[in-house]
Symmetry: C2
Subunit: 310 residues, 2 copies
C-alpha cells in the first residue's frame, strides 16, 4: 500500500458522529488512500459495539493510550481533551511528513473550552501553531470558495480591502491551489456599475492585474458581479471563486451544496481538510446514520492536494 | 371572462423576445386570467410572420396607434419610445383600475436612453410617477427575497441600517405581502455571534420585536445567520426572506433559481410584476425559443396578489 497517499484522520469528538463516519467510510476511502486513524483501538471496539458493526482488519490506528469511554451525545471535558490530543498528533505526523495530509473529523468547541483548551477550534490552533495566516476555503469539486476576509463585522470589510492585502491573498491562493482560473468577485452590487455603486472595484482590478503579471498567466479575472457569479451558467465558466467577505461566498455555496462541502486550510506547511459539519450529538450512536459525503470529499481533496505537490 | 383577473401586459422592446414570449404563453395564461396586451395588432401580425406562428383569436390588444416595424435584435430609439409608451399606458390602465395588475415584459435600457427617456428603467419610472419608495422583491413561490437596501455601495449599507428605517421597511413589507412568516437576516457573519462579529443585530432584533408588536402577530423572526438561511433545511422552515443588502439576498436566490425568478415592485398603488431577464436580443426572432417560466411566474404572482387584495 506504500504507493497510496497516507492520510491521518483525527477522530474528532468520540461522543459525536466522527467514529461512525470513519467506520462507515473506511472501505471506500481505503481504495483511494492509506488511512491512519488517530484513536485508541479500545474506543473503536466500543464504538463498533454501540453501532452494531465490526472493524475491518485494515482499520489501522495510531494509539494515544488515553483511557476514556464513549458517552454518546454528551459535551464532556475528557472527550474534549481526547479530540484535541488526536488533532495535535495528526498535525505533528503531517508536519514530520509521516503522513501526507490530515483530515479532521468534527470536534465540539464547548468540550474544548470545558477541557481548558485555549483554542477556539482547529483553524485557530493551526494559525497559532504555524504562525501563519491560513486561507479558509470551502466547497467541493463543483464549487470552491476562498475567503479574503472571514470572521469580521461587515462594516469592517471595506477597511481590510487594500491593494497590498488583496494581492498577497491572491498570490497565496494561487500558490497553494494552482487553480487554472479563479473568479474574483467585486465588493459592491453589480461590481460597482462603473463606479456608480462604489469604487473599490478599481483597486480589485489593479490587484488582479498585478497578481496575474507576477504569476505570468491570466489566472484571475474580475471583479465580477457578485450576484450572478453562482448561476449555473457562470459556474460552468468558472467554479473557483475568491469572495471578499464571508456571506458573499458562503451563502450561495451553502444554498447549493450544504451537505457536500468541506473546509480546507490553505497556505499552511501541511495539507488539512475537514468536514463542513459538526458533531451531530443528536444522532450520534443512534439508528440514524450520519451522511458521509462531506468526509469522502475531504479525503478526496486531501489526496488530490498531495498529488499536486509531487 | 369578467370573473377572471384582468392583467395588462406591457410588451417590452419589440426587437427583443417579449412578443415571442407573450404569443407562446398566451394559451396557458388565458386559463388563469384575462390578458390585455398593450401593442398594435399590426406589430403582432408582423411578429407572427417572423416567428412562423399565428395569433389566437383571443389575443386581445390595446392599440397604441404608433407606426413602427420590428428590427430583430437592434437597439433602436423608436423601439425604445414604443416600449415606454406601452409601459406608461399599462401603468395608467392599472391606476385607473381598468385592469387589476400590470405585468411587464423586458425593455432595453439603452433604447430608452437613445429615445431621450430620462428614466433608467421600469422601477425608476414607478418611483417617480407615484412618488413612493417601492420595495424590490425577487424570487418565485419557492423563495422570495425582499431587499432593505438595493443599489448602494456595500460600505454604505451599515449607515442605512437604523431602527426607524428597518421598522418602516418591515411594516411596509408585511402590509403589501401579508406573508405569514418572514425571516430577517443579520448583517454580520454568524449574525454577529453574540456581538463578537458586529453589533447591528441588536437594532435588527429591536426593529423585529417592534414591528411584530405593531402588527400584533409574530410575523418576523431573526436576525438569522445569513449564510445558512438558504439551505434546503432553512428554506423548508421559511422561504420568505428580508435581506439587508443586494448581494446577501440575490446571490443565493440566483444560485438556486436563476431562470424562474420574477421582480416585483411592492408598496405601490398598483400591482406590478416583471420577468427577471432582459430582451435577449441575440435570440430574438430566431429558431431558439426563449424560456417562458419567468413570465408565467410573473403572471401567476400578479393574479395571486390581486386575489389577496379582494
Amino acid at each position: 500500500m506504500s504507493h497510496l497517499t497516507k492520510i491521518a484522520v483525527s477522530i474528532g469528538d468520540i461522543n459525536g458522529v466522527g467514529l461512525s463516519i470513519a467506520l462507515a467510510a473506511h472501505e471506500i476511502i481505503s481504495q483511494w488512500c492509506d488511512p491512519l486513524y488517530i484513536v485508541d483501538d479500545a474506543i473503536v471496539d466500543e464504538a463498533c459495539k454501540k453501532l452494531h458493526t465490526s472493524k475491518s482488519p485494515t482499520f489501522r490506528t495510531f494509539e494515544l493510550d488515553i483511557p476514556i469511554q464513549i458517552e454518546a451525545g454528551i459535551i464532556d471535558a475528557n472527550a474534549g481533551r481526547y479530540s484535541f490530543a488526536s488533532f495535535v498528533k495528526g498535525v505533528e505526523l503531517a508536519q514530520q511528513k509521516k503522513v501526507d495530509a490530515l483530515v479532521t473529523l468534527p470536534i465540539h468547541k464547548e468540550a474544548w473550552a470545558k477541557a481548558g483548551i485555549k483554542f477556539k477550534g482547529h483553524t485557530d490552533y493551526l494559525r497559532h501553531h504555524f504562525g501563519r495566516d491560513a486561507i479558509m476555503m470551502l466547497g467541493n469539486s463543483k464549487l470552491f470558495v476562498a475567503l479574503f476576509t472571514e470572521h469580521i463585522p461587515l462594516r469592517e470589510v471595506p477597511k481590510y480591502l487594500t491593494f497590498d492585502a488583496l494581492e498577497v491573498f491572491l498570490l497565496d491562493l494561487y500558490e497553494t491551489t494552482h487553480f487554472d482560473k479563479i473568479n474574483v468577485l467585486g465588493l459592491n452590487p453589480h461590481a460597482g456599475d462603473g463606479g456608480v455603486l462604489g469604487n473599490e472595484e478599481e483597486l480589485i482590478d489593479a490587484a488582479i492585474q498585478s497578481a496575474n503579471h507576477k504569476i505570468g498567466k491570466p489566472i484571475f479575472f474580475g471583479p465580477s458581479v457578485p450576484d450572478v457569479a453562482f448561476t449555473p451558467h457562470a459556474l460552468a465558466h468558472c467554479n473557483r471563486i475568491a469572495a471578499l467577505y464571508h456571506d458573499q461566498g458562503l451563502a450561495p455555496l451553502k444554498a447549493l451544496y450544504f451537505d457536500e462541502s468541506i473546509n480546507i486550510s490553505l497556505n499552511l506547511p501541511i495539507i488539512r481538510a475537514s468536514v463542513d459539519h459538526g458533531t451531530a450529538f443528536d444522532i450520534a450512536y443512534t439508528a440514524q446514520k450520519p451522511k458521509i459525503e462531506s468526509y469522502l470529499n475531504a479525503v478526496r481533496y486531501a489526496i488530490d492536494a498531495c498529488k499536486h505537490l509531487d
